[in-house]
């Protein structure tokens, strides 16, 4: 049982964001008091961030087009490719017992590889740049979608499948009316994990081998001892991650809440 008093209070967005604001204020005060060049206060970070990315003619500056947009696109496109591949292959593996059994060990191994270890390989294959980063992101994020989808597709209630069989609902219609909706919660769970992974891999791949993007910007700032800029890149990465997750959550609410059949 949830405690009734306070339970309602905590869930109110105003209160939650109040705590967030409080932490920022404390950080500001501590940073000012300490006066360390390594830890600039949030206001300084915000100023730098604003100047660098959002003071352009049409809001976004040239730097924003060079750093932020490529990063976001890499995450979204890489993750989108993973979603398409993962769902398609996952459905196949989930509904074909033979394919599932043959490929299980291979999948278990591929999934166990920490995705960043493949960055050197992909650098050789694609040279540093967007194709390399997409390859890293796709390879790292396809597994949660694929395995969750396969599980979801495998777990469709046998009585439901019998019903589809009896009423001759086959092929694409069965996929759309039965298997996809049944697997949807698992697929969405996989997509959510993949999105977080995609963000991480985007940053890592940009840190390691890139000439654009927020990760690259972060390294440049760090090497130039421009700590406010470094922190600004970090904060912006957080904001981008938060925004993407919020967007997914919104889509998810609508998709799972709405009639799928």
């Amino acid at each position: 049982m949830e405690p009734r008093v306070g339970g309602g209070l905590v869930t109110r967005p105003l209160v939650r964001w109040g705590v967030f604001a409080l932490v920022v204020v404390v950080w500001e005060l501590v940073a000012r008091a300490a006066g360390s060049a390594f830890f600039p206060p949030p206001t300084a970070i915000a100023q730098v961030g604003w100047r660098t990315w959002f003071s352009g003619p049409a809001v976004l500056t040239e730097a924003a087009w060079a750093d932020v947009v490529p990063s976001v696109l890499r995450v979204v496109v890489g993750w989108g490719l993973s979603a398409v591949i993962g769902i398609a292959v996952g459905l196949l593996l989930g509904r074909s017992r033979r394919a599932g059994e043959y490929l299980a060990p291979l999948l278990a191994f591929a999934r166990a590889l920490p995705p960043p270890v493949l960055i050197p390989v992909f650098v050789i294959l694609f040279a540093a740049g967007t194709p390399m980063q997409l390859a890293v992101i796709v390879f790292g994020t396809v597994w949660p979608v694929l395995l969750n989808t396969a599980d979801g597709a495998r777990g469709v209630d046998p009585v439901t499948m019998d019903t589809a069989e009896v009423y001759r609902v086959t092929g694409f219609r069965r996929l759309r009316r039965v298997i996809l909706p049944a697997a949807a919660p698992r697929i969405v769970a996989g997509l959510r994990v993949s999105l977080s992974l995609a963000l991480i891999l985007m940053v890592v791949s940009e840190l390691m081998a890139s000439t654009s993007g927020l990760g690259h910007q972060l390294v440049v700032a760090q090497r130039g001892f421009d700590f406010p800029a470094m922190w600004a890149a970090i904060v912006l990465l957080g904001v981008v991650g938060y925004a993407l997750n919020a967007a997914l959550l919104g889509v998810e609410r609508r998709a799972l809440g709405r009639s799928t059949g």
Partner: protein, 299 residues
Amino acid sequence: MRGDLVGSMVEVDDVAVAFRDGRSTTTVLDGLSLHVERDEVVCLLGPSGCGKSTLLRCLAGLRAPDRGEVRLRGEPVRGVPDGLGVVFQDYGRSLLPWSTVARNVEFGLAADLDRSTRRARTEEALEAVGLADAAGRRPGQLSGGMQQRVAIARALARRPDLLLMDEPFASVDALTRADLEDLLVRVRREYAMTVVLVTHDIDESIYLADRVVVLSPRPAAVVADLAVGLPRERDQIATRESEVFVHLRAQAAELLRSGLSRSGAHHGHPGVGERGERGPVVGVGDDPGDGVQREHLER
């Protein structure tokens, strides 16, 4: 066996089904034979776990028997046959929780029907089961009895000429159950249908059926084949009080019990379950004179 008979709908001929699970084998059906006429309502009455659902799955073409043959309209069943409606025992799991009631009913319609026909059929079927108002709701928002009616509506919307029902009213309260039974009696009259209904409720089987087939415990065999000599018009109170009904109920109860005690003697009998061996169960098969008790009680 009886393929030459006019009006024959379902023929089950010496069907055997066994489940193999590692080393152990469970024989569920062993040489069962059965015959259903067109437009007949036949209730399969048997104890829990005797293999009724398995038999129904064979009729629906969801499982091929290990031995013997199931024929529909004289044709051997290979895969799910045409013109079939099925109400599964676990109706809750056979409905699509993510689709509305209307979409669930429409699910049972052939894919090549046009949109307006689909809508009309869906509405008609929901009307028939008294759920016209619930068309836009989800199965999860309905009571068990209402969900069951959705499953029935789905089967009816298809306009099947064979309706298979697996303990369709087992998990609803007595009042709802009586309503659903009467619903079946009514729609069965409105749509010309052959109905095979599985139950382990003696009263229900007699109330609904033209013929009650009593099955023995696993492996299910036909113990008796009782013609219910009641008029097609049934009434929850008058019918159940009628002499014919009371007599049949006593008889069916007796047969069920004798089936149970026979199965006790069944164990350890050498050779039982072998191909062609029918064991000591009286009345396997459906040829007259094979030991199956046949009763024709007229009012």
